[in-house]
């Protein structure tokens, strides 16, 4: 995936100003940033959900906005803050995604059952996704993104609200996926996860890309958290505020 000078305004606010980023094939890329940094906006523009005011996005060599069909066919997305078709049950939702991607029914059935089983969502469960907990929704969303075995996975906050056991399982799945030649880019603000998984890291704040490169190059001999706090320029607590608490 490569992004070239992506810009997006909301009303008068500049949400993303000129982000250019190259995600090498086969990398495990972590996109870090504080709340409101523009992570979701950037990823939405990269996968063709949000039209950028300027700039280009290429997925596996295809221009997302010029040749959307070719670009999207090899892409799996887990958007954040976007609803699922939540009046379907988990199994129905997976079948829906599989058929939308033009897969044949037998493959869809087999993979859907396997995914539901591995992610512990229950293969015969009749609960609608709307009644799922937040963590279960993340998992079913991830399953939908994985179903058609894409070459590139774009995941927005995949570990948010997921319990530790499931998170470990998702990490395991993603690591095997990258080892098998896939590419993952995901956003997060959990340093430990990024530090443990990623080969490459980019830090975004206020819509600007502050640092990017391989994990070792970005953190040097410090911890990723130190680098992150320094780059983002967080306030240091003095202990005097919120004294009434």
């Amino acid at each position: 995936m490569s992004l070239r000078g992506l810009v997006k305004h909301f009303d008068t606010k500049l949400a993303v100003s000129g982000v250019s980023l190259d995600v090498p094939a086969g990398s495990f890329y972590g996109l870090l940033g504080p709340n409101g940094a523009g992570k979701t906006t950037t990823l939405s523009m990269a996968v063709g959900l949000l039209r950028p005011d300027a700039g280009q996005a290429f997925l596996l060599g295809y221009d997302v906005w010029a040749d959307p069909v070719a670009a999207k066919a090899r892409l799996g997305v887990l958007p954040d803050g976007v609803r699922l078709f939540d009046r379907l049950t988990g199994a129905e939702l997976l079948a829906y995604h599989g058929l939308l991607r033009g897969m044949d029914a037998a493959t869809v059935d087999q993979r859907a059952r396997e995914l539901l089983d591995v992610l512990e969502l229950g293969t015969t469960n009749k609960t609608m996704v709307v009644d799922y907990s937040a963590g279960m929704r993340k998992k079913i969303g991830l399953a939908c993104a994985l179903l058609h075995a894409p070459r590139l996975l774009v995941l927005d906050e995949p570990f948010e609200a997921v319990d530790p056991v499931s998170a470990a399982r998702i990490r395991d799945i993603l690591q095997r996926y990258v080892a098998g030649g896939g590419t993952v880019i995901f956003s997060s603000h959990v340093m430990e996860v990024v530090e443990r998984l990623c080969s490459h890291v980019a830090i975004l704040s206020d819509g600007v890309l502050r640092m990017h490169g391989t994990l070792d190059a970005v953190r040097g001999d410090r911890s990723l958290e130190e680098v992150f706090v320094q780059v983002v320029g967080a306030r240091v607590g003095t202990g005097s505020e919120l004294a009434w608490l």
């Binding site: 009303d11 008068t12 996968v47 063709g48 959900l49 949000l50 039209r51 959307p68 069909v69 999207k72 066919a73 892409l75 997305v77 958007p79 803050g81 976007v82 609803r83 699922l84 078709f85 939540d86 009046r87 379907l88 049950t89 199994a91 129905e92 997976l94 079948a95 829906y96 995604h97 599989g98 058929l99 939308l100 991607r101 033009g102 044949d104 029914a105 869809v108 059935d109 859907a112 059952r113 539901l116 229950g122 015969t124 469960n125 009749k126 609960t127 609608m128 009644d131 939908c144 009434w244 608490l245």
Partner: protein, 539 residues
């Protein structure tokens, strides 16, 4: 947390003003920096203004003419129709501005009385209420002309009470309706009964009026007199009572209205409480299992295992499972059946009504992308072409609608005593439905808007609700105009129409559908991100 330093929570002393300010703030924020919404809002203001002025003129005419008998007929009947409009229109077209969603106040330390008063007063702040007040002010003019200042003064009290009644009845009925529809499956029968009762009020009124048109003037006046003593007509006639030398009737009638308002508010409060509790624990147990294959479950084992089949399967599920869509199907069924029937029974011609019913069927798709909101992103990332998307949605809707249209055609033909016209009736319905889809589908792409994520099927976002409802009405008017030629041709052809009505109607409807859906699909291909942004809540 140090409890000692926490100042005791100030329980608001029952003033509704915070609610009003909150509502005004929500409207203002909804408009800020969004030229499209401002335009919708302004057109809503203009149209409300037109309605208000026209209503004022109509109600003022008897006074200007000095015709007491006309006044005694027009005011109670026109006023009653207005009240019934407040009941029926939100259910069928406009929705309720639930920007102040009661469930959001569940955690605040508010007494029920405070909450109800606040929500009620906030509901008074809005274009429909202002327009109604201005329109009914025409009755003050009439009362003043006929009975002087005292009558005018009584009538002012009357219209204020009348406005309160309109708002109270509309809130109470939609809330009761919503509470019923919120349950997933168990209480569907009760819901349908409620729907029938509520939606019947309008057609019944039409039937009564149509019947009266043939009756003599005196009988008409009697009905008006009776209506004047029901809560529906009472608020609009107090001024006339003063003018006619019956001042003792004024407190009685006002008492009737106030009692009705109090009762309605109590009913509203009861359903609201249920709604506020209901949001927390509505999840069903996960005990139920289904061992069919995932694909088989999605497609009911019947639809083709293709992209189109998946889209249709999902849409069908949504019409069955989502409260907003279920509500629109139920409302359409009830109105679609009873409107033509009541017209036929009262001796009118159901012909034009078939146009209306066909168009009404298509209206459910006017904001089809708004129903599931940002979930549409999944179809975008899967790269579903615009035309496939549009065709699949229309096909799923037709699966529900076409059988209903058959039923409507059969019932209308039988009630009208002309069983030979079933096929032609059905042809007319299909033509109107096809034209309706042709008009509505491009609108659904170009003018998609987000719906709030509440469980109330009648909720619309704050601001511009009137304009959006009127956009829908405009689409219906367009449909009726485009499909009217067919009706005219049918009228002139007479009996020949009984034979060619079905093929001609189906052909006309299909042609209109193909043009509209093609246009909508191509537009969608170009505007996917814009549609997604438009239906994403909070954007």
């Amino acid at each position: 947390m140090a409890l000692t330093s926490a100042s005791p929570a100030r329980v608001p002393g029952g003033s509704p003003m915070p609610f009003v300010r909150l509502k005004l703030r929500l409207i203002a924020n909804g408009l800020r920096g969004r030229p499209g919404r401002v335009a919708l809002f302004v057109s809503g203001v203009l149209l409300s203004g037109i309605f208000a002025v026209a209503g004022y003129a109509i109600f003022a005419v008897p006074g200007v003419l000095g015709d007491e008998q006309a006044a005694a007929t027009l005011l109670p009947l026109g006023g009653s129709a207005l009240v019934l409009g407040w009941v029926v229109l939100p259910l069928v077209f406009f929705g309720v501005d639930e920007s102040l969603d009661p469930a959001r106040f569940a955690l605040f330390p508010l007494r029920r009385r405070t909450l109800i008063t606040g929500l009620f007063v906030a509901a008074l702040v809005g274009l429909p209420a202002v327009a109604t007040l201005v329109a009914t002010a025409g009755t003050v003019n009439t009362a003043g002309q006929l009975g002087g200042a005292a009558a005018a003064l009584a009538q002012v009290a009357g219209i204020v009470a009348g406005l309160l009644l309109c708002v109270a009845v509309s809130r109470a009925v939609t809330s009761a309706f919503a509470t019923g529809l919120r349950s997933r499956r168990s209480r569907d029968l009760a819901v349908i009964l409620l729907a029938v009762t509520a939606a019947l009020l309008g057609p019944l009124q039409l039937a009564v009026l149509a019947g009266l048109e043939r009756a003599d003037w005196a009988a008409f006046g009697t009905v008006a007199d009776i209506a004047g003593w029901t809560p529906l007509g009472a608020p609009w006639t107090v001024g006339l009572d003063v003018a006619a030398g019956r001042p003792w009737a004024v407190p009685l009638k006002l008492l009737i209205v106030i009692a009705a308002i109090a009762g309605l508010l109590w009913w509203w409060g009861a359903t609201l409480e249920k709604a506020m509790l209901g949001t927390a624990g509505s999840g069903r147990g996960g005990a139920a299992t289904d061992t069919r294959s995932p694909v088989g479950r999605l497609l009911f084992g019947r639809l083709p295992a293709t992209r189109f089949g998946a889209l249709v399967g999902r849409e069908v599920r949504y019409w069955l499972r989502e409260t907003r869509r279920r509500a629109s199907l139920i409302t359409f069924t009830v109105v679609g059946l009873f409107l033509p029937v009541s017209i036929s029974m009262s001796g009118g011609s159901p012909g034009p009504m078939t146009l209306f019913v066909g168009a009404l069927a298509a209206i459910a798709l006017a904001n089809q992308f708004g129903y599931e909101g940002s979930a549409y992103a999944a179809n975008m990332t899967a790269g579903v072409p615009g035309r496939t998307e549009i065709h699949s949605r229309a096909a799923a809707h037709a699966l529900f609608t076409v059988p209903l249209l058959v039923v409507v055609a059969v019932v209308v033909a039988l009630v009208g005593g002309r069983p030979e016209s079933i096929a032609a009736q059905f042809g007319g319905l299909v033509a109107a439905y096809g034209v309706g889809l042709g008009v509505v589908l491009p609108i659904s792409v170009l003018a998609a808007y987000s719906l709030p994520e509440t469980t109330s099927p009648f909720a619309v976002s704050s601001g511009g609700g009137v304009a959006k409802g009127l956009l829908t009405l405009g689409a219906m008017a367009g449909t009726v105009v485009v499909s009217a030629p067919l009706l005219v041709v049918g009228f002139f052809l007479g009996d020949v129409w009984l034979w060619i009505g079905l093929p001609a109607g189906v052909a006309y409807g299909c042609a209109a559908y193909l043009i509209g859906s093609g246009l909508a699909g191509d537009t969608l291909d170009r505007r996917m991100p814009e549609v997604l942004a438009a239906v994403t809540a909070g954007r």
